[in-house]
Structure formats: C-alpha cells, structure tokens
C-alpha cells in the first residue's frame, strides 16, 4: 500500500487537449521548466496537490512526442547520445509547445 503511494508521488499525469492521459515519471516531466514550476511552486496550486496537469492547448500526438522527448533528454544528459527523430509535419506545433513548456 505504502509503496504504491510513494510510487504514485513520483509519477505525474499529463492530460492532452483531447483528454488523453499520459502517466510519466515526475523526474522526466520536470525536464520542462514550466512543469517543474507547476509541480514545485509553493502555496499549493491545484497541479501540485493532484499531481496532474491539463494542457487544453496541446493535442495528444504532440504531447506524446514531448513525453518521448523527456525520456530521451534524461538519457542524453546521462551520456547516451542518440538521435531524436522529429517528423517534419509536426515540427511547428512541437516548437510552439516547447516554447510554452520551456524545454
């Protein structure tokens, strides 16, 4: 039981505009400076309390790509240098989202 709660505390839920939920490691999510602030800012915003963030302006396939990027970035930072492939057709949307998420 207890293990589950601590595990839960280390996971966060990111919800896309279409309501699709991505459950990822908190550590990975915090690659984004914006999400980091959302989860750590003092004063108890609802995101901090619930451990989930809704992005009404980011569509599912972009958010998915971003989640992949989070994990890729962690690996990259720890020395595993691989390519991160981006399909050209989502480039613009992805850039917008990256600007928003500051990552």
């Amino acid at each position: 039981m207890e293990e589950e709660t601590t595990k839960k505390a280390e996971m966060v839920k990111l919800i896309s505009a279409e309501g699709f939920e991505f459950v990822i490691d908190k550590q990975a999510a915090m690659v984004s400076q914006t999400i980091r602030n959302m989860l750590t800012s003092p004063g108890g915003f609802s995101e901090t309390q619930q451990g989930q963030v809704t992005f009404p302006e980011i569509s599912t396939h972009i958010l998915e790509k971003i989640c992949q990027y989070f994990y890729w970035s962690l690996q990259f930072a720890s020395g595993k240098e691989t390519e991160f492939h981006i399909e050209p057709e989502i480039t613009l949307d992805l850039m917008m989202a990256a600007n928003y998420l500051h990552c």
Binding site: P42, G43, S46, F55
Partner: protein
C-alpha cells in the same frame, strides 16, 4: 538588367486558436489580478497553475506584456501599502515580528507570482529591459515598507536598541534579528549598509568610547585587556549570529580603535600594572592577551616591542654596571643567562615567537653586554667554572644546554678576540692543572666556537689539546726508556707545550732543587734525542708538585704545591729558618710571585707550613721564615693554593687588553691590504667601513686605530695617498 528583387522574408506569427477578442486583454488580466489577490490572501490552493501560466503566456504572446507588467506593479504596490499599514500598527515589541512575518509571506507570494509569470520573465522582461519579477518584488518591498517614513527610523531604532540591550547582558531573540538583517541584505548591500550598518557602527563607536573611558579609570591594565578581549569576542560572535559577514572587520575595527588604539599609551605605561610590570612578574597570560589585542592595531606591536627593549636595555645596563655584580663573574653571567631565559620564555609563550621581538631581545642583549668590557672575560670564567666543577653530575644533554646558552651570550659579544684570549688562558690553566672534568665537554665547546667563528679562531685551542695528548705519549716513552730504578728519585710529569699555541708568558726559570734538576736533564736528553732541532725551556711558573713532609710530632702529610712553592719548601730540608733575601737568592723566583707563594705558605690558616716573623698579613723584604713544626691538619693531603685572583686584577687586565690591542694590529692591517688589493683605490671612510665589516665577527675595530694602521702601511709603502685627492688611498703592488 536590374538586380534581382530583394525578397523580404517574413515569419508570420503562428495562428493561434484564440481569436482576438477586443476585450481579451482586459479579461485575461482580471483573471490574473484576481489570482494575485488570492495569493496574497493565502487562498491560492484552488487555482490552476496551468491556467494562470497559459493566460500570462498568451498575454505576452499577443503583445500585452506591457499591460501585464504594469498591472503587476500596480497590484503588488497596493498590496504592499496595505501590509505597510498593518506593520505600522504593530505595537512595541511585536513590530519586528510583524515585519518578519509579512516579509516571509511576501517572499512566498512573490515566488508564486514569479512562477506563473515565468514566461513574461523569460521573454518580455529582457527584451524591454524591465526589472525581473523577483527583483521587482524586492524593490517594491524596499520602497513601500523599508523606506516608509513610519517604518524606516523605527526599524533602525529597534535594531540598535536590541543590540544595546544585548551588550548590557540581556538575552534577545537572535533568530528574529538574523531574519531582519538578512532581509536588509536581500534588499541589496546598500540597503543593509545605509539603513543599518553605518548607524550601527556609529552607535558602537560612541558606546565603546564611553565604556573604555570608564574601564580605564577603574581597572588595571590586565583587567582592562580582559574586558576589551571579551568585548571583541562578543562583537565577533554577534556578527556570526545575526550580521553580515562583511561587517565583522568593520565592527572589530571600531572596537580596536576605541578600546585599544586610543588608549595604547596609557595601557602600556599604566602604573603598577603596565607592560613593564607584566614583564617583571612573568604574567604570560596578560602579556599574551596584550600581544594578541595590540597586533590588531597599527603600531601596536612596535609599541610593545619598544617598551620591552627599552626596559631590557635599562635593566641590563644596571645589571652589567652594578659594581656588586662584578665581584662574582659566575654569578654575573648566571644573571645574564637567567634574564635571557626569562625573556625567551616570554616571547615563546606570550608573544607567539615573533621574529621582531626576538630581534629586539637580541639587539638589547648585544647593547648592554658590550657596555661592560669585562663581559668577554666573565663569560670565559663562567665556562671555566662550569668545566671545572659546575657540570659534575650533569648529563651530556644538560652540559650541551649550558654550553649552548653560553654560546648565545658569546654571539652578542663584539670583542670576540678578547674572549678568545681569556678562553685560551683559562683553558690552559684547566688543562695543565688537570682540572677539566670532561674532555667531551671541552671538545664540544671548541666545536661550537669553531662553527661560530671558523677554523682560525680555534686552531690554537685545538693545538693545546694535541699537545696534551702528545705529552702523555712522550711521558710513557720516557719512562719506558729509563732502565734504572726510579723508586727513590722524584717522579716527573712533563707537558710539552708548543710555543704560540699557549698563552704562556716567557719567564726566567727559577733555580730548581738538585733532585729535580737531575730528572729534568734526563728528560731533556730523552726528548731532544727523539726530536732533533727543538728547544726546550722550563716554565717553572707553572706546574705543581706533591711533597711528602714530616712535622714535629712525626705526623706525615702530603703537600700539593706549585713549582715555586716546592722550590721554597725544599730549601727548608737543609735549614730551619731562612730570611726573605736568602730565599730569593737561592731560588731566583720573581719577587711578585715569591711574595704570593710565601703568603700562601705562611699566612693562610690551616695551611701554614711555614711560620713568619714578624706575624703579619703581608710579606716584607726583611721577614724571616721558619719551618712550622706545630703544623696540624685533619687531612693527610694538604692542598696549598697560591693566592691567585680568579678574576684578573686591574694591572693584569690592562696587560691583557694591551696584548689584545697588539694582536689586533696585524689583523686590521691584513684586512686593509685585502680590501685595497681588490679595490685599488678607495677613500678613507670607505676603508674604515669595509674593515669594520670584515672584522666585526671578531671585534669592533676603533676607527682611530684603523687610521694609524693605514698610516703605518703608507710608511711601509703598501699604500700611497692620491696626489690630487688627498682623501684617496692607492694600493701599491
């Protein structure tokens, strides 16, 4: 052909889904303003970060950054004005606590606001050269709270009053103090300095100025220093607890100036408890405290040092010129050594082994030891005393320590050659009379002198040791070569001394008794037989003899006497009474020595083997001497000393001095020639300076003597005066 038309690339803004509603900006701002209110009212828990962030993001993206920024300034300012009023309303002691609480709240709110407005901070602020949100929050706090007319003075007064209370011994809330000073530092170092540090230093200065005045009136020096040290430590502790680290040097400077620098003179010279008293009474703790406090202020240490050396020089001068002290050379030197030990200990325990202090100590000793021109003699006598008997039962290390200490005094001597003269005399006496107790100690002393002054200084001293050793071997050879029975004739022990190595004054040999003369001649024959081409002369003014004598009632004694005394006593083998004139005729002993010998034979109680008529203390030319039949002594062996002055008498002293002066002449001349040989041309003053420099390891040459030597060298055509400039000398090769 015209140039190809320039095409302007234009990146169009990403078409966002949010349609531009004319009231869009106003509406969005309302949401954010509301959120800021909620944050300040601690109601933020329901708000969605994402929503607020997105709104701020969109406002900036749609070029409403300016509106967002100015709105933030206005909203925060109004909140701070309200906070300011609630702080102003806080009563008495609650004021600081209220200020602290509000500050913490503001900080927290500020962080939340910064987080939701992060996008603005990241893009809008740097492009438009605005103050970032966090800094803006601090500045607004500073301007609306700290610089508020009703808070600014009150805050300062409260802080200073708390510190004042702590100085008088009360316990204050240091945690709160730390938070408040930290707040001032967070607002910028100038805020801390202007609104707290400067007035704090001013108030401290007047506080300590007053307090030090009070202390100095009622405390003695040691007590005052203790108080000053405590105050200093308190201030340092205060800084570590709740002030900026950079304040430490400033506040300690205030304490140092007010409590130490301003009263230095008075403290050092304080009657009955000042520096001199501390030195006299070996107050290591007080001295150490004084050293550590004074080193903090400019000129502090040099002042201690000056007073110490002046005191040392004065007491030293008294010591070496006190006529009472001059009576006992050993005691005299012991006093010097004790003084040195005392100050060495003070410097090592209280003055941190400070080099400058050691130098001061050395120069003082050098100054006063050389005030008394008998110091070299006395130091040599001290060594003599130690090597004769003083070191009996001492371990090897102890001997070394004593000798090292003596060497230390030796280093202070300017006239090292005089010391050498005396040392040679004393060493000769020790060796010839077999009085030296430890050969190792003697040699160790020689080695020390050698390392200090070089081979030249000790070569003769070492020659003396060699002679002693050779003589021993020679005597063994002599007796081995004598085939006849030596049972009846006197036993002879000869020490062959190399002329020049020993401080012997040639004196005409006295007439030896026939019994002795025979053995002497045999030895002479033996010695010259093995060493051809040498000349032997007898130094009858030295040496000792053991005589077996039988007195009136048949009691036998062995008399240990000098050679001269032996010659006198042998005369009484053939006659019971002799006049002074008969004795001097028969023995041919120089009158002064004869008188001394007779004095010790006839006038010393318990050793009077002769009787004198008339009975008196001194020997006159027409006295008569009788063999004293009634002589008795508890001891079988009776040692009859000559009345020898341990210390030199005035004429002897003059004589030694004269010999020293004579010996210096060739050394000065040699130095002049050495210098001129390399310089070729030099003026008078420079020669004197260089000669002094070359010779100062041995003695301090007198300029007048140097001038005389130069003149003598000119006479002997080693040098000449320059024909144009009469002050110049030229070397003639």
């Amino acid at each position: 052909m015209s140039a190809p038309k320039k095409r302007n690339f234009k990146i169009e803004a990403f078409k966002h889904r949010v349609e531009i509603d004319p009231k869009y900006a106003e509406k969005t701002w309302r949401i954010l303003e509301h959120a800021i209110h909620e944050i300040y009212n601690h109601n933020a828990s329901g708000l969605s970060f994402e929503e607020l962030y997105r709104n701020a993001y969109n406002m900036v993206l749609h070029k409403y950054g300016e509106k967002l920024y100015s709105g933030l300034v206005a909203t925060m300012t109004s909140h701070l004005k309200e906070i300011s009023r609630s702080i102003e309303a806080a009563q008495g002691g609650l004021f600081l606590e209220e200020l602290n609480r509000k500050w913490e709240e503001h900080n927290k709110a500020l962080q939340m606001i910064r987080d939701i407005l992060m996008y603005m901070d990241r893009t809008f602020v740097p492009i438009n050269h605005k103050t970032p949100v966090h800094e803006l929050g601090l500045n607004l706090w500073r301007d609306n709270i700290i610089y508020s007319s009703k808070i600014q003075m009150r805050l300062l007064d409260t802080l200073l009053e708390l510190i004042q209370r702590e100085r008088t011994g009360e316990v204050i809330n240091r945690g709160l103090m730390r938070n408040i000073t930290k707040m001032l530092m967070d607002l910028g170092s100038s805020v801390y300095q202007e609104n707290f540090e400067k007035p704090f230093l001013d108030v401290s200065a007047s506080f300590y100025s007053l307090e030090s005045q009070e202390f100095i009136e009622c405390c003695d020096c040691g007590e005052y220093l203790k108080k000053a040290e405590r105050r200093l430590n308190e201030e340092i502790e205060r800084v570590s607890h709740y002030l900026d680290k950079k304040s430490e040097s400033k506040i300690t400077l205030v304490v140092e100036t007010e409590m130490i620098a301003n009263h230095m003179q008075r403290l050092v010279h304080m009657e009955n408890s000042g520096l001199v008293n501390m030195l006299v009474d070996d107050k290591y703790e007080d001295l150490s405290r004084m050293y550590n406090l004074f080193r903090r202020v400019p000129e502090g240490l040099s002042m201690i040092r000056e007073v110490m050396t002046t005191h040392l020089r004065e007491t030293g001068r008294q010591l070496v010129t006190d006529p009472d002290r001059l009576k006992d050379p050993v005691d005299f030197v012991q006093h010097l050594l004790d003084a040195k030990d005392k100050y060495d200990k003070i410097i090592s325990t209280a003055f941190n082994n400070d080099k400058a202090f050691q130098n001061g100590l050395n120069s003082s000793f050098e100054y006063f030891i050389n005030l008394n021109n008998r110091s070299p003699e006395f130091i040599s006598l001290y060594v003599d005393d130690k090597l004769r008997k003083g070191l009996k039962g001492f371990s090897e290390e102890d001997v070394e320590t004593v000798l090292d200490k003596v060497m230390m005094l030796f280093r202070y001597l300017q006239e090292k050659d005089v010391f050498e003269k005396y040392y040679k005399q004393h060493l000769a006496k020790r060796l010839l009379s077999g009085k030296t107790i430890s050969d190792d100690a003697e040699r160790s002393m020689i080695v020390k002198l050698k390392t200090e002054c070089g081979y030249q200084f000790t070569s003769k001293l070492e020659g003396m040791f060699t002679d002693m050793k050779t003589s021993q071997d020679t005597m063994q050879g002599f007796y081995a070569s004598q085939s006849f029975d030596t049972g009846d004739s006197p036993t002879l022990a000869v020490q062959v001394l190399t002329t020049g190595s020993w401080p012997t004054q040639p004196s005409p040999p006295c007439n030896l008794p026939a019994e002795i003369l025979g053995v002497c001649e045999r030895f002479r024959a033996f010695y010259l037989g093995t060493h051809t081409g040498r000349r032997l002369t007898w130094q009858t003014n030295m040496g000792t003899a053991d005589l077996k004598a039988t007195f009136g009632k048949g009691q036998k004694h062995e008399l240990n006497v000098s050679t001269y005394q032996m010659c006198i006593l042998m005369l009484f083998n053939s006659s019971d009474h002799l006049s002074y004139k008969e004795i001097i005729q028969a023995t041919n002993i120089p009158a002064a020595d004869l008188k001394r010998c007779l004095q010790s034979l006839a006038c010393v109680k318990g050793k009077n083997v002769l009787r004198k008529e008339p009975m008196s203390k001194d020997i006159a030319e027409d006295d008569a001497f009788y063999f004293n039949d009634k002589f008795t002594s508890k001891f079988f062996k009776v040692k009859i000393g000559t009345v020898v002055a341990q210390k030199e008498s005035e004429p002897e002293k003059q004589e030694t001095r004269q010999r020293v002066e004579e010996d210096r002449k060739p050394q000065i001349e040699a130095a002049i020639v050495r210098i001129m040989k390399s310089r070729r041309v030099l003026d008078h003053n420079n020669i004197v300076a260089e000669v002094t420099k070359q010779l100062q390891a041995r003695f301090l040459p007198n300029p007048v003597v140097i001038k005389k030597r130069i003149e003598s060298l000119i006479e002997r055509e080693f040098l000449e005066r320059d024909k144009v400039d009469r002050k110049l000398y030229r070397y003639l090769a």
